[in-house]
Structures are given as structure tokens and as C-alpha cells.
Amino acid sequence: MLTSLKKIIKFSFENISRNKGLFLTTIFIIVIATSLISGLFVLRHLTNSLVDSLKDKVDISVYFTLNAPEEEIMRVKEQLSQVPEVKEVKYISKEEALTIFKERHKNDPVIMESLEEIGDNPLAAHLNVKAWQASQYEQISNFLESSPFSDIIDKIDYYQNKTIIERLFSISAAVQKVSFIFIIVSAILAVLVAFNTVRLGILDFKKEISIMRLVGASNWFIRGPFVVQGAISGMLAVVISLIIFAVGCWFLTPKIEILSSGFSLFNYFKSHLGSIALIQLVCGLCLGIIPSLFAIRKYLKV
């Protein structure tokens, strides 16, 4: 058994050294496939995080009358927190509202002068409410309007933003759907191309495989070297692919950070190195070994 294994490994290295072109082509194709597959996983994560950050920016504000007591507002906050549709409620006091307003309009002298002329803080305290889903904002708005606190509520800005909120949510759902389909189709294409290339490579050995059968070699003695060769190609492809991936992430990180407000691709790569390497290793080994086994099976019928 051990002697056979040694011979199989010897034959596979012999095959590699005598068919370098084919070996390198196989590695190249597997590198493309594994890089694409793991790249698509990262793309999916990136799309999800972009959509999440977009969704995170959506909320409705509940403005209270200027003389509404803070305790009452805090009671509204408490009640809202218990509503299952509500994801998060944030209280913005009159003072905080003024600070935010000033910060936002600091470059607009007309507004700043008007504010100074008024003298007093004209802004009302409010609650920023986030829901789990876009469709839930209407329910939250209805809940507030029909609640006993409706007399201290000045305005709910849901109806002004309704169209934008719904459109934003439908766009993010569409982006996620399209990216998922794109990922699946690309992954299937990559696998098919790699599969076929490896299979065509074995075609060169069709005659040799039948000769091996005729001189009495067992099926595993014939398959063995191809399996080992496929595994070596797969593993080398994974190493190359990981290096390319690391360099690619490092270069792309600054560009993606601008797009996705702080998402560091390189940090993502570092923290997920184990799972990315595992995905690539599984893909690499499968693409190196399975097509060979399929192709050889056909030629072993001698």
C-alpha cells in the first residue's frame, strides 16, 4: 500500500515535470476560478454592508411642541422602545438639536445671523426612530398619531419622506437580489470553465490510460497520479490566488473606503483569511481532482 502510494506520488511528479505547460495552464485556470469565487463572496459582503449603511441612514423624526415637558417625551421614547417594529429610538434634546443645526449650517451666514437675531432656541426636541423594515414606518407613525401623546407631538416627518424611504428600501432589496444572482451565475461559469479545461487536459492521456489498463494496471494505480497532480495544482493555485487576493485588497481598500464609509477591504481580508483560504482550498482541490476523476473514468473502460 505504502509502496503503491510512493509510486503514485513519483508518477505524478514525473507527469508534472514532463507536462509543465499543461500543469501551469491548469493552475492558471484554477487561480482564476478560485479568485473569482472568493472575490464574489467578498463582493456579496461589500454589497450587504453598503446596503446596510444606506438603510441605517433612514429614519423618521418625531418633533414635539416647544413646551412639551422632557419627562413626557421620555415616556413616549419608552413606549416606542416597546413597539416590536421599532429597532432604535434616539432622543435629541432642544440643545442637541441646536448644536446639530449650527454645525450643519455653519457655512451659511444668513441662517446663522437669523438664528442670532431670534436669540432664543427655536428648535424643538425630537425623537429619531428607526424601524426594522421600510413598511413598518407607517405603522409606527399611525401608532404615534393615535396615542395619548398626540397633543404634545408637533409633527412626524414620515409622510414627507415616505416616497424616498420606500424607494431606497426597494433599491437596496433589488441590489441584493441582483448581486446574489450575479454571484451565483459567475461562480457557475468559473467552475464550468475550470472543469472543462482540466477535463480537456486529461484527453491528452486518453491513449496512455488505455495502455496502462492493457498492461494490467489497476484503476487506482492509473487514477492516483492524476489525483495527486490535481491536488498539487489546486493547492498551488490557492497559494497564488491568496497572494493575488491580498495584494488586490490592499490596493483597493482606499478606493472602497470612500464608497462604503469606512469599510476596509484589507482588514476584512485579514479577519476572514481563514474562511477565504478554506473556500479557496475546497474550490481548488475540487477543481483539480473531480474533473480528472470524471475524465479518467471514461477512459478506464478498456
Binding site: E14, N19, E208, I211, R213, G216, S218, N219
Partner: protein, 240 residues
């Protein structure tokens, strides 16, 4: 129990037995029709007949490359067509095969081609290094051990194929038109080697349509025509 271990009650002297064997290929092409014969241990048998008479099919059936449509084929008491894919290699290791197109592994050197059959059987490197040079010496190719098949002439390639068939000391050697692609000088060498194999104790089946070879050998000749045995003579001659 493996089929290879199940021997029928054939005569101990019989190595090969064909019993009413018929082989019909798709589209109703009948390659062999109700063929029966026996070959004893140590015999040298020529299979004669024109191209398409069924000589190659007969050898393919014996090697288990094809299955008969009907009838039974025995090698040393083992019913060949009943062997499964796992047992077939064990049968083939006992039969040395020589082909008209040599069937050498093009990616391996002469030495490796011959060593391969020993590796298949499980010989150690030391044993292989002892055996292969001896066989190369017999076929006169000691100087070509590191050459690849494509660097050799037709005659040299056929001698490599003979060395490969010889190295396991098989009980039976099947040579299918081994001189078909060779000039008269190489043809004579190859026939001499086959006779030497026979002297070493193996049974030899030589398939050929070469009149000169058959007449010069003066051995048993089974003549096939359109898949049927038309003559089986102990000291046969080539008859058109």
C-alpha cells in the same frame, strides 16, 4: 471468492480455450462466428487470415478488452468474460501483449515503459533495477534505456513492447500483427525474439497475415476467414 481463483475443470495442459464464441458488433457486424479451439501450454500458434477476418477481435476477447456476444473463453481455467473491472488487471498481468502500433507510453522512457508493468505488480525499485537491464539486454536495447519511444525506429519500438511483454515472465504472449509496420530485417528480429520467448516456456499466439513468417515457422496455424475458423493445422502453411 475471486473469479481468478475459480478454475474450471479444463485439462491441465490447456491454457486457452474458446468454446463456441461469437462476437457481433453494433449494426450486426459479425466479427467471430461460433469459434472453438484449444491451445496447450508451451504451444506456438499462428493466427492467420486476411485483414478483417477476426484475428484482432479474437485476441481482444482473450485479453478481456471486449466481451463475446455468446460462447465462453477460458485462460488457464478462468472464464475471462466473467471477470469484473477489478479482476481484469490481474488477468492481464499474466498475459504479455504485443500490438502492431506498439502501444508504448509516450511520456515515459524505454526503461520506464518496461519498469511500469513491474511497478503495477508491486516490485520494489531494487528488483526493478535488476530485472529491466536484463530484459533490455535480451531485446538488444541496453543503449536506448533513456530514450523516449518517439526517438526510436519502428523495430526498436516493437522490441521495447516485446521487452515489456517479457519482463513479467507471462504464461501467455499475444502478439497482434507485431511485424505489420516493420521492414523484413526487423520482422526477422521480432520473430526470433518470439521464438526465444517460447523457448523460455511461454505459450505464444502470433496473429499475422505475413505468408513468409507463417511458412518459415512451421508451427500450428489457425486460419480465420470472415470470423470463422477454416483451417487448424499442426504444421500449417499459409494458404490463400
Amino acid at each position: 471468492m475471486s473469479l481468478l481463483k475459480q478454475k474450471s475443470k479444463l485439462n491441465n495442459e490447456t491454457v486457452v480455450s474458446f468454446q463456441n464464441v461469437t462476437k457481433v458488433y453494433p449494426r450486426n457486424v459479425e466479427a467471430l462466428s461460433n469459434v472453438s479451439f484449444k491451445i496447450k501450454k508451451g504451444e506456438f500458434v499462428c493466427l492467420a487470415g486476411r485483414s478483417g477476418s477476426g484475428k484482432t477481435t479474437l485476441l481482444k476477447l482473450l485479453m478481456g478488452e471486449e466481451k463475446p456476444t455468446s460462447g465462453r473463453i477460458f485462460f488457464d481455467g478462468i472464464e475471462v468474460q466473467r471477470l469484473n473491472s477489478k479482476d481484469l488487471p490481474l488477468l492481464r498481468r499474466r498475459i504479455g501483449a504485443i500490438f502492431q502500433d506498439y502501444k508504448l507510453l509516450s511520456s515515459k522512457t524505454v526503461y520506464e515503459n518496461i519498469a511500469y508493468v513491474l511497478e503495477v505488480i508491486g516490485f520494489s525499485k531494487k528488483e526493478i533495477d535488476q530485472e529491466v537491464p536484463q530484459v533490455l539486454e535480451i531485446v538488444g536495447l541496453s543503449d536506448c534505456a533513456d530514450h523516449f519511444p518517439e526517438e526510436l525506429s519502428g523495430g526498436e519500438r516493437q522490441r521495447v513492447a516485446i521487452a515489456r511483454a517479457l519482463i513479467t515472465r507471462p504464461e501467455l504472449v499475444c502478439a497482434d500483427e507485431p511485424t505489420g509496420n516493420l521492414d523484413p530485417y526487423h520482422t526477422r528480429d521480432i520473430i526470433q525474439l518470439l521464438l526465444k520467448i517460447r523457448e523460455l516456456g511461454a505459450t505464444v499466439i502470433l496473429s499475422t497475415h505475413d505468408k513468409e513468417i507463417i511458412n518459415s515457422l512451421q508451427k500450428r496455424v489457425i486460419t480465420l476467414d470472415k470470423g470463422k475458423i477454416i483451417r487448424d493445422e499442426q504444421r500449417g502453411r499459409f494458404i490463400c
